[in-house]
Amino acid sequence: MIVLVGLNHKTAPLSVRERLFAGCQEQVGLLGDLQAIGGVLEILYLSTCNRVELVAAVEDVPQALKALKYFLAGQGSLTNEEAAACLYGYQDEEAIRHLFRVTSSLDSQVLGEAQILGQVKDAYRQALAQNATGVALNRLMHRAFRTAKRVRTETGIAANPVSVSFTAVELAKKIFGSLSGKKVLLIGAGEMAELTGQHLIGNGADEITVANRSLSQAAVLAEKFHGKAIGLDALDTAIGDADIVISSTGSPAPIVTEEMIRQCLHKRKNRLLFLIDIAVPRDIDPAVDGIENVYLYNIDNLQDIVDENMKNRRREALKAEQIVAEEVTHYSHWLRELEAVPTIVSLRGKAEDIVRMEMAKAQSWMAKFENGDREKVDALVNGIVNKILHAPVTVMKEESAEFSSQDIVAAARHLFRLDD
């Protein structure tokens, strides 16, 4: 049976997550310790900045939940209250669903983010390397990856950017088409402008100029982009050359005025100009937006688009939940079928033993059989045994897949005296 124990950004404050993260980092051979816990058959350990989780295949669920929670609390030196408030434990379908949701990024802080899948894959690779997983977890993890892939391709959960800087890049693409050969001007050496500049370069823009009140600061940032540094006095010329301008200075009054843009229009030959103003108070006079072929977005405009995209992601998440539900059903079906397997194996074993014993007894009178007759009797006996076993085995598989395997397995063990 599958259990999942852990904590995440929703249940635990950063201070607790930090402690647990650090505790687990230090511990060498963590997986080995976990495997040594009684009743734990297979185990996987996942740790990211937002969550620490243990997924295990166990014999006794309540006991395992308790032991794993105790283990995590010990690692993070959590108090009893903290452990009770932060740690969650799921079993069976709930545990499977939780893992599938995590892998598909439905449980992430930023819905639909792409990193978590890689992190889960790494965790699985580690567990695999230490032989900590077996048939149940291997299948579970493959199903989880499959679910994540389906969610990504069948829903639009990761379709539109939900960060301001990526939204700016997407807009730039909608304005210019390809960004290759486009010139970017950063006004102010802020972190946000730097990040957006980086994304623009990553998408093909190739010339960056940094303008700043302090030329030395501009030079530091320009160095990073292999660009050019200028002072604010050369802004007019720089805007005349630029295609994309990102402004984020701390200036109290607008530093890019309507007049400035109008004057360079002729020199620009009306090339399209995309202005991104992420400063508060604003750096670029809003009246600029009225000029033909000039597109001005301020931080609120970008945030509105981000919000809209986020809303879309939440809508898509509903579809994703549907996919997760389907995959959970698939896996639990398979897992329950798996639970009947030991009983089926021992039932077949018992039947084979009986056949072998009876055939041995019959050895004396079968001795006078002519060539080939003995094989015929063998085939006959095996055929009968298989026919008789076929129905109980099939029913056991079907019943345990549909419902719980417990009752039917217990009945079979009792009927055929498998435990004697």
Partner: protein, 274 residues
């Protein structure tokens, strides 16, 4: 042969209807994949249309059997050819949603027309007329393209200016690409139309002894030619770009359609075959 030709034309009409429906639906449900499929469907229609025209060319001797139907099919063929050619270079599948209705209109008109009207009188037939017709049609087809791109530019521009790019904005091509298509349409359309008109004028001078016969179609076309010439000049020399060009090419195109319709139905003209 006529039957095979008509079958091809009917097939291309059917396929183009399908493609147009696909394009419009892709605009409606905002799925670019459907526009991609429709582009392929349109390519099949283009193939049928090519077969139809080839059949007509082989079958006829000179212009004898060329009537309205063929001219209209040539229009449809040229526009789809230009659109498909463009798709090899840019990824602007949705342009099809704006172009394919025109192709469809020309095809419907073509199917509705007889071919036996023998609309280019035998005494006019000659390589100069062919030259005139083919170039004029190609030039006009490129203006259709430029204007369709202009219309899309205005929609996209409006969405981006109002800070509402949304799903339609995501679907439409970028402003840069649309402006480039508008530019290409004008840049290639204008010289072709110019050459076509010169050929017509030379022909008129040779046959009728007058460079500019007082034909309403000729006068309107001259007006349209001048306006497009001004547009191209503004674009190349003055550096007009983007939304202004988009708006103007749409206005000029509307004027052009209007002139074509008015002249076709209200005036008697030597160009009454289309």
């Amino acid at each position: 042969m006529i039957n095979l030709e008509m079958t091809m034309l009917a097939l291309s009409l059917l396929v183009c209807t399908l493609a147009t429906a696909g394009f419009l639906l892709s605009l409606l449900i905002k799925k670019i994949e459907l526009a991609k499929v429709s582009t392929w469907i349109l390519a099949i229609g283009f193939l049928f249309l090519t077969l139809n025209l080839l059949g007509a060319a082989i079958h006829s001797s000179g212009w004898d059997n060329f009537g309205s139907r063929h001219f209209l099919s040539i229009y449809a063929w040229t526009i789809s050819g230009i659109y498909l050619g463009l798709q090899l270079q840019t990824k602007t599948r949705l342009l099809g949603a704006f172009i394919s209705p025109f192709i469809l209109l020309f095809l419907i008109a073509a199917v509705g027309q007889g071919s036996d009207k023998n609309l280019v009188p035998p005494e006019w037939q000659g390589w100069l007329t062919t030259f005139h017709l083919v170039l004029a049609i190609a030039g006009e087809a490129l203006f259709v393209l430029a204007s369709a791109a202009g219309a899309m530019f205005m929609i996209q521009n409006n969405l981006i200016k109002h800070k509402k790019p949304g799903s339609l904005g995501r679907l439409l091509p970028s402003l840069g690409d649309l402006d480039r298509i508008n530019h290409l349409g004008l840049l290639w359309g204008f010289p072709l139309l110019t050459l076509g008109m010169i050929a017509g004028a030379v022909y008129a001078a040779l046959v009728w002894g007058s460079l500019w016969p007082a034909d309403p179609k000729v006068i309107w076309s001259l007006a349209v030619w001048i306006v497009y010439g001004v547009l191209l000049h503004q674009r190349l020399a003055i550096g007009w770009k983007g939304s202004r060009m988009a708006l103007l090419s749409c206005v000029v195109f509307a004027l052009f359609i209007l002139s074509a319709v008015v002249i076709r139905f209200c005036f008697s003209t030597v160009h009454n075959f289309i």
